[in-house]
């Protein structure tokens, strides 16, 4: 079984370096990182400029995406949680979903071969 799984992690910008290092240690050798805006339970925060409150509801976060095949999904998820969990609201979310096909553009290799 060469099931491929996509793992998306949305979390605090400040945790990106730690997360990247931890994922490298368990053998993740590729990822895509984007700056994103969003809110969940944290529901934004207040900024103050010239004495006036501005509520900023969309907060800047990072989204880290990777597709795994040989590395167990649980290993990735557990590693991410161990790095990211502070217990405060705003720690983020992890989404896990199946991937039906992967193609490596340079070589044309597919699926498991494409992910090595």
């Amino acid at each position: 079984m060469d099931e491929m799984t996509k793992i998306e992690i949305i979390t605090r910008e400040s945790k990106l370096e730690d997360l990247k290092n931890a994922l490298n240690e368990i053998g993740i050798n590729g990822m895509t990182v984007s700056h994103v805006l969003g809110y969940g339970a944290q529901k934004g925060k207040k900024h103050k400029y010239r004495g006036v409150d501005y509520s900023v509801d969309l907060l800047p976060k990072v989204k880290v995406e990777m597709v795994v095949c040989t590395i167990p999904v649980d290993t990735v998820v557990d590693t991410a949680i161990s790095v990211l969990r502070t217990g405060e609201i705003g720690d983020g979310k992890i989404f896990v979903s199946p991937v039906s096909r992967t193609i490596k553009v340079r070589t044309g290799e597919e699926d498991k071969q494409a992910l090595l």
Partner: protein, 409 residues
């Protein structure tokens, strides 16, 4: 007789004051939203073209040539004809043309200050024509009345570098325009935070730099009064920056960079009318008190009365200018500058103080009436405000077809 040292100094001050307008474009640009920054900066920048052309053609003449009823000059110097390199009539030591071009820089930055109040919703075509008319209806008369021998000068009020002419006139105009335009749509949602604070710092730095030429050069000579003005200017800015930081810390525990920049600018505004009249110790008081006054205006008054002075042109320049004019009436000393006929109220004479209050009231009245007239004429040409769709998209695109920061290069 021409003094080459003074002439050289004023020529350099010309370039200092010139740089304040692009500086203001950065100050306002940083405070504005990403989708509006092109428009916000353009509203300051285009005036370097418009006001320059008008000044050479008729502006200098209407402000400084002759006198009609104490209100405005005549067309004797139309197109700079007769504005030569001989000294006088406004200074014995620099060419008339040098004075004229120094004054031109004030005519550029003053209308640019207004644009902070209207950012994010005024049609570019409307602000273009508004400022074209406003220079004739408000600025040239103000410059004449205060500096060109008009009736506010005859009254005995003093304005060293433009508290009335520059700051109160532009700030009050901004307030009236902001009320006429109505609130920005997003102002109700409270999402209008500054999009680029480093731009705000760049702008504030260029303004502070330029202000040495603005106030120092207003001595119109490279002399002791010029350096006195430079010292009071810097001291006021420094105290105001510190007092704004202190207010931030007391209110919210953290000093903000936007607050430090705003404090510095209102400190510069407040010292402008008195820079060459008040003793150095008074500049500590003028600077330290302007920040709480302006902070109150932008955080309490604005909210209470519900006008959307977008980037606080009125809150900083109008209010700061009024405090500066009053403070000049409190602390001026004729021993520092004999242009002030009387000492300030602090030294026991009420006459200068009274003249200052009258000149402030006249300035406010002219700015209000002038703004209604100019906006009235503009409305015959174009609506003042952009459509709701354009406001949502942003004025960079809707007014100029440009995007400040492209997503892909």
């Amino acid at each position: 007789m021409i003094d080459t040292g003074s002439t050289a100094f004023i020529i350099i001050c010309v370039t200092y004051v010139f740089l304040m307008t692009p500086g203001l474009a950065f100050f306002y640009g940083g405070l504005s939203q990403k989708k509006n920054v092109v428009n916000t900066m353009m509203m300051s920048f285009f005036i370097m073209g418009l006001a320059s052309v008008l000044w050479i053609l008729v502006g200098y003449s209407l402000s400084f040539s002759g006198d009609i009823g104490g209100f405005i000059g005549n067309l004797g110097w139309f197109g700079f004809s007769g504005v030569g390199t001989e000294p006088g009539p406004y200074s014995d030591v620099i060419p008339n043309s040098c004075f004229a071009i120094f004054q031109m820089m004030f005519a550029i930055i003053t209308p640019a200050l207004i644009t902070g109040a209207v950012a994010g919703r005024m049609r570019f075509k409307a602000i273009f024509f508004f400022i074209l008319f406003w220079l004739f209806v408000v600025y040239f008369p103000m410059a004449h009345m205060v500096w060109g021998g008009g009736f506010l000068a005859q009254l005995g009020s003093v304005d060293f570098a433009g508290g009335n002419v520059v700051h109160i006139s532009s700030g009050v105009t901004g307030l009236v325009l902001a009320i006429m335009l109505g609130k920005r749509k997003a102002a109700r949602k409270q999402t209008l935070i500054p999009h680029n604070i480093p731009y705000v710092v760049l702008g504030a730095a260029l303004l502070w730099f330029g202000w040495f030429g603005f106030n120092g050069g207003s001595a119109l000579a490279a002399d002791g009064l010029a350096i006195h003005a430079i010292i009071t200017t810097n001291t006021s800015a420094a105290c105001a920056m510190l007092s704004w930081m202190l207010i931030d810390v007391i209110k919210d525990g953290k000093p903000t960079l936007v607050g430090a920049c705003t404090g510095a600018v209102v400190g510069l505004v407040a010292i402008t009318p008195g820079a060459g009249f008040v003793p150095v110790w008074a500049s500590f008081i003028i600077g330290a008190l302007v920040s709480p006054i302006c902070y109150f205006a932008v955080s309490v008054l604005k909210n209470k009365f519900g006008y959307d002075d977008a980037l606080d042109a009125f809150g900083c320049h109008g209010i700061g200018g009024i405090w500066g004019g009053i403070a000049t009436g409190l602390f001026a000393q004729s021993s520092i500058n004999p242009v002030a006929q009387w000492n300030g109220l602090f030294f026991g004479d009420y006459r200068l103080f009274l003249a200052q209050v009258i000149s402030i009231v006249v300035t406010i009245a002219l700015a209000i009436i002038g703004t209604f007239i100019c906006a009235g004429i503009v409305k015959l040409i174009t609506p003042l405000r952009v459509s709701e769709d354009d406001e949502n998209v942003g004025l960079s695109d809707s007014e100029h077809g440009e995007t400040a920061y492209s997503l892909f290069d």
